[in-house]
């Protein structure tokens, strides 16, 4: 891979990461209840972080510290949904009823 291609790939991955993190933030701010917020928090944010860390791995190079970045990526992909599940389950055990159409909670 030539260096220019790598540079632009890093730029593209970073922008994708920023985009999905932005979606995650908008979701967390706009969605009506904790369950729907957990969706974007676990998914869009995981993907955003994934793209960001992939960009870092590509920048640093896999030979050096980059594999730590890959490790981090793997770790976030395992733990983020688990944490979201734990939070959603805690909400469920507290007895918080999921929002449905027509509910005026926001």
């Amino acid at each position: 891979m030539t260096e220019t291609a790598r540079v632009w790939l890093v730029v593209a991955l970073t922008l994708l990461g920023l985009f999905f993190s932005f979606v995650s933030m908008v979701g967390v701010l706009r969605l009506p209840d904790v369950y729907s917020r957990a969706h974007t928090a676990s998914q869009a944010d995981t993907l955003g972080a994934g793209f960001g860390l992939a960009a870092v791995a590509l920048t640093v190079g896999l030979a050096g510290a980059g594999f730590k970045s890959v490790l981090l990526l793997f770790f976030i992909f395992v733990t983020n949904p688990t944490a979201a599940h734990a939070i959603a389950r805690a909400a469920f055990e507290e007895g918080i009823v999921p929002w449905v159409e027509g509910d005026d909670r926001r």
């Binding site: 969706h39 995981t46 599940h85 469920f92 999921p98 449905v100």
Partner: protein
């Protein structure tokens, strides 16, 4: 049916020389206000962790309340004449004798005035036929109670006649339909930490040791002697303390590498699904009208417990639009953001992939959850089932509470590994 009356006279008759139990009105001077406990008390016995404290509680209660006899009964889970029935009867008798010895010792130590008058009787019930379920157990117990003039049943909180299923609540419910009074002995149950622990085997130890050492050296410098020494020490500590907790089955030769290979095939598929679905959900979220229709759904999945269930639940959560709220045995409660995501979930591609990863290609061919009729929508206009939640705010309070309590007994045992295994230690 046979029973052993170890103290001679037929159980339940009132000894003429005891004022305490001769007259039901003047039971025992210490505790006349308490339960109408002049008759006999029946205690179903089964080896359990709380049996000792239950016996202690019963002996004390029987002594203070002036019960005439303490019947320790074992309900047979075998049938006389079957192979091995003799051994099982002998084992049951040993348990009964031990319990009776405890009861007698407790009665001797008791300072209540009625203590010397309480008889201890042992019996094995129901060995002349097969018993199915709580109703049969109650029938046998009620017959025995009538024959022996007993009016009270005290249950050990950990009482499980069948071995590993929780029968206590159905049993209590069925007993409440009889004239017998029922109570559960108020003894402390041990905390249930044991279910996280499995047996320690060499295979698991070696696997965990290798994994943690590899992880340590990956982060450190494998060629530097200091890292090698500290790595071995750390891995030893980790595998000694955690090999019982982290892995629930031994690594096996053809199976474990195959699972890793199939898992590697699954990763790009999952990544593609995640990106594709994320784009759709991003459009929904960035839409100014916010066109969401969230519902909670239930889906019964056919994957093993433990790691396969965790893989499936995490895959569902990672795929946008669906979020696993809880995993109870094989029932997954999944929150979906848009109907499109719900339909995709019910088609079951993730379930099939999980089965492929863990059990191979042939196991992956099965009908989708929708075709199996293993799905339910719990909310919204298309709801097919009630929400199993104690409605805390909003919603209607009556309906949810009821279904929670009726379902609670059967699903007592939560699948324990759905969120614990996430530190990257796997048994693949």
């Amino acid at each position: 049916m046979w029973w052993v009356a170890d103290a001679g006279p037929s159980p339940g008759d009132d000894d003429p020389d005891t004022e305490a139990s001769a007259d039901p009105e003047a039971t025992s001077d210490s505790d006349a206000a308490s339960a109408p406990a002049s008759g006999a008390v029946i205690v179903p016995v089964e080896p359990s962790s709380t049996l000792r404290s239950t016996i202690a509680h019963i002996a004390e209660a029987a002594a203070t309340e002036g019960a005439s006899a303490l019947h320790l009964v074992e309900i047979a889970s075998w049938r006389n004449g079957d192979p091995e029935s003799d051994e099982r009867a002998a084992a049951a008798e040993r348990v009964l004798e031990r319990a009776a010895a405890w009861a007698r010792a407790d009665l001797e130590d008791s300072e209540a005035p009625g203590a010397p008058d309480v008889e201890v009787v042992m019996a094995v019930l129901g060995a002349d036929g097969y018993l199915f379920g709580a109703d049969d157990y109650v029938r046998v117990l009620a017959e025995y109670a009538e024959a022996n003039d007993a009016d009270r049943v005290v249950l050990d909180p950990e009482y499980t006649p069948v071995g590993n299923t929780t029968l206590l609540q159905p049993l209590e419910f069925a007993l409440s339909n009889t004239p017998l009074s029922v109570e559960t002995a108020p003894v402390d149950r041990p905390t249930r930490r044991e279910r996280f622990r499995t047996e320690a085997t060499t295979g698991r130890f070696v696997a965990l040791f290798g994994l943690s050492l590899a992880f340590y050296l990956l982060l450190g410098d494998p060629t530097y002697w200091f890292d090698a020494v500290t790595g071995v020490a750390t891995a030893a500590v980790v595998s000694i303390t955690l090999s019982r907790v982290s892995l629930d089955s031994d690594p096996a030769f053809p199976r474990t590498p195959m699972r890793i290979v199939r898992g590697l095939i699954y990763v790009p598929v999952l990544l593609f699904e995640i990106v594709k679905a994320n784009l759709v959900v991003a459009r929904v979220i960035l839409d100014p009208r916010l066109p969401i229709e969230p519902t909670l759904n239930r889906m019964r999945v056919i994957v093993g417990s433990g790691l396969p269930l965790m893989t499936l639940a995490n895959s569902i959560t990672l795929t946008p639009g669906t979020l696993t709220v809880r995993a109870r045995d094989s029932d997954l409660y999944v929150h979906s953001l848009v109907p499109w995501a719900r339909e995709g979930l019910f088609d079951g591609p993730l379930e099939r992939w999980t089965r492929f990863v863990y059990y191979g290609r042939r196991a992956a061919r099965l009908p989708s959850p929708r075709e199996r009729d293993d799905v339910a929508i719990l909310q919204g206009p298309d709801a097919t089932e009630e929400l199993p939640i104690a409605a805390a705010d909003g919603g209607d309070p009556g309906s949810g509470v009821e279904s929670e309590s009726s379902g609670g007994a059967a699903v007592e045992v939560e699948s324990s590994d759905d969120s614990t295994d996430a530190d990257g230690v796997t048994d693949r």
